[in-house]
Amino acid sequence: MWELLARSLEASTIFLFAALGELINQRAGVLNVGLEGLMLFGGTTAFITAQATGSYPLGFVAGLAIGGLLGLAHGFFSITLRGDQVVSGMGLWILSFGLTTYLGNPHTGPLGLGRIASFFGLSPFFVLGVALVGITWFLLFRTTQGLAIRSVGENPAAAEGSGISVTAVRYVCVLCGGVLAGLSGAAYTLSYNPVWNYNFLMGWGFVSLALVFFSMWNPWILLAGASLFGIMWQLSLSPELVLPGVLSRYVWRMVPFAITIPILSVISTPWFRRRWGLARPEALGRPYEKS
């Protein structure tokens, strides 16, 4: 049972890294719906690099770098050019989906390196994820830089008027978001399932995106949400361990995705917003024009 739980937590780290990056993005007011694309590209690059060089660190560096680059590309479009953030995000997703399919294809198959060590079966990335959650929370809510980030996401004009460069803060945040998405992808292809195949995420990036909304932009709730989703995902693959023979495996496979929809709906109701507050950054998705 412990192994199953450990595996679930490893799955949740994939969601967690990407969602944490997106959370930072969104706290600064930038919406990146192309998260899945960043993860695909980061994961593929990390995989190819690690396989070519035989070095995990290099793989991670490459994955993080490409994630960061794509994050910056999204930033350029949405911050500097003040374009539609959904268009840009969707663009990144489809671009990555298409190009990684092509680039990664010759590498289809196992990575062929020794596994990254684990602590009693628990992925070191989960530990890293928890640490990052703590760091992010502290950064966002206990430092002036965090106050600046949150202000930029709520009311960029007010932040700019207080001497904060909205552009700089947003760029730093999209960079962080991109790097974390790249990390998520790299953790997927180098540790969670070091076997490359095209479109390997199959919607995990979108689940991560949904998790940010669930979390009400709070890293700790995000951690809980990601863990829950990881467990749900793992159980959906082995339903016989919980409810043997109750439903078809195909129905179980739908469950994690299906549960997302009612949760999203509930947290979107006016009742819920009134009860738990409107945490959604006020300026989310809106380009900022000076003055």
Partner: protein, 364 residues
């Protein structure tokens, strides 16, 4: 599915595979077949590609192109036409040998299969493997459970990994094999340091996936043997002289470099036969079983023995109910579907084999 078509006098062989992915066990073997045929028949144009079909299964267009010779892998449908042949290799023979090795290797007495979903092809191949496992168990006087856990698709690497992991961690499986196409189960076996038994292709030898420390043995399918028969028929001016090709270990071809190879064989790291057994696994397998593997292989190469003829088929009560009229229900548990020493009909094997053998555990 896969097809070959040759046009006019200057023959062209087109091998189309619909599986999206190159770098899988199944498609990889087809790819290799194209290369080997190209070497053997330099004057025949061989085209291998991922087929894009907006419809048009070969069966339907066969009438439209009466001068072409078409063929298709059997999944279960065995209908044919004058210029349309069905073919499949007798992989169950090699799988039986793998089963012997797997049954001998397990210490926990649990062998796991990561499988796609039940269909005739899968059930039949699994039966071959299972008979091997049980023969080894009997010879060594131990109990071996075979667990099957389905993924739901041929190619879902992430899910295949998790299902393999669950087999290892929850069902204490220490020998793993797969009836799916990705490299994930192999990767799990390597990670968990248990034995893996491969499918469709010698992935250690051809893809360099993993090594013989993990892969105890694999089986290798040479589609080129089947295609070669069809090319030869075509060049001799004959189209579909048979209704289907169901070739096994006794059927061989000679490659361009002079190697004679049977349609299927156990193979690992480019070694064949008993030598294919991983050097690290060999000491762990009782001599009697190694001998048995060698003996059965020799018999099958000669065509003197066949596991499906030798053994009786007793239904496990699980499998796949075939619909349609008349339907084929799953024989109820304990039913003796075929008696020992009785030769099963090829069309029955290819089109009706819809049950698991008694004693297997299908995880739902």
């Amino acid at each position: 599915s896969s097809a070959s078509a040759a046009a006019a006098k200057n023959a062209t062989l087109a091998i189309l595979h619909f599986s999206v992915i190159k770098g899988t066990t199944w498609s990889g073997a087809h790819d290799r077949a194209g290369q080997r045929l190209h070497a053997k028949h330099p004057n025949v144009k061989i085209v291998v590609g991922n087929a894009e079909f907006m419809g048009l299964p070969l069966k339907d267009i066969a009438d439209k192109y009466p001068n072409a010779y078409l063929g298709s892998v059997v999944a279960s449908d065995i209908t044919t036409k004058r210029n349309f042949i069905r073919f499949f290799p007798r992989q169950y023979q090699a799988l039986y040998l793998e089963g012997l090795i797997a049954g001998a290797l397990t210490k926990t007495g649990n062998v796991g299969i990561v499988s796609a979903f039940p269909n005739i092809q899968v059930l039949r191949r699994t039966a071959g493997f299972y008979l091997g496992v049980q023969d080894a168990a009997k010879a060594l006087n131990k109990r071996v459970n075979v667990y099957v856990k389905y993924v739901g698709d041929w190619y879902k690497p992430t899910e295949e990994r998790d299902i393999a992991s669950t087999l290892v961690s929850q069902y204490k499986v220490d020998v793993l094999t797969q009836q799916t196409d990705s490299g994930s189960p192999l990767d799990v076996a390597q990670e968990k340091k248990i034995w893996f038994v491969g499918k469709d292709m010698d992935t250690v030898g051809f893809y360099g996936w993993s090594n013989t420390d993990t892969v105890a043995v694999s089986f290798d399918t040479r589609w080129e043997v089947l295609y070669d028969r069809m090319i030869q028929d075509w060049m001799a001016g004959k189209q579909n002289p048979r209704t289907f090709l169901y070739l096994g270990m006794k059927d061989t071809m000679t490659l361009a470099d002079g190697t004679v190879e049977p349609t299927v064989d156990i193979m690992n790291n480019k070694k064949i036969g008993v030598d294919a057994i991983s050097p690290k696994a060999l000491p762990l397998i009782p001599k009697s079983i190694v001998q048995l593997v060698g003996q059965r292989r020799e018999q099958m190469l000669k065509g003197d023995w066949d596991p499906f003829t030798e053994h009786e088929f007793v239904s496990n009560g699980t499998g796949l109910e075939l619909k349609g009229t008349p339907g084929t229900p799953i024989p109820s548990k304990g039913t003796v579907v075929k008696k020992a020493q009785q030769v099963p009909a090829d069309d029955w094997l290819l089109g009706k084999f819809n049950f698991d053998l008694d004693g297997m555990t299908i995880l739902k």
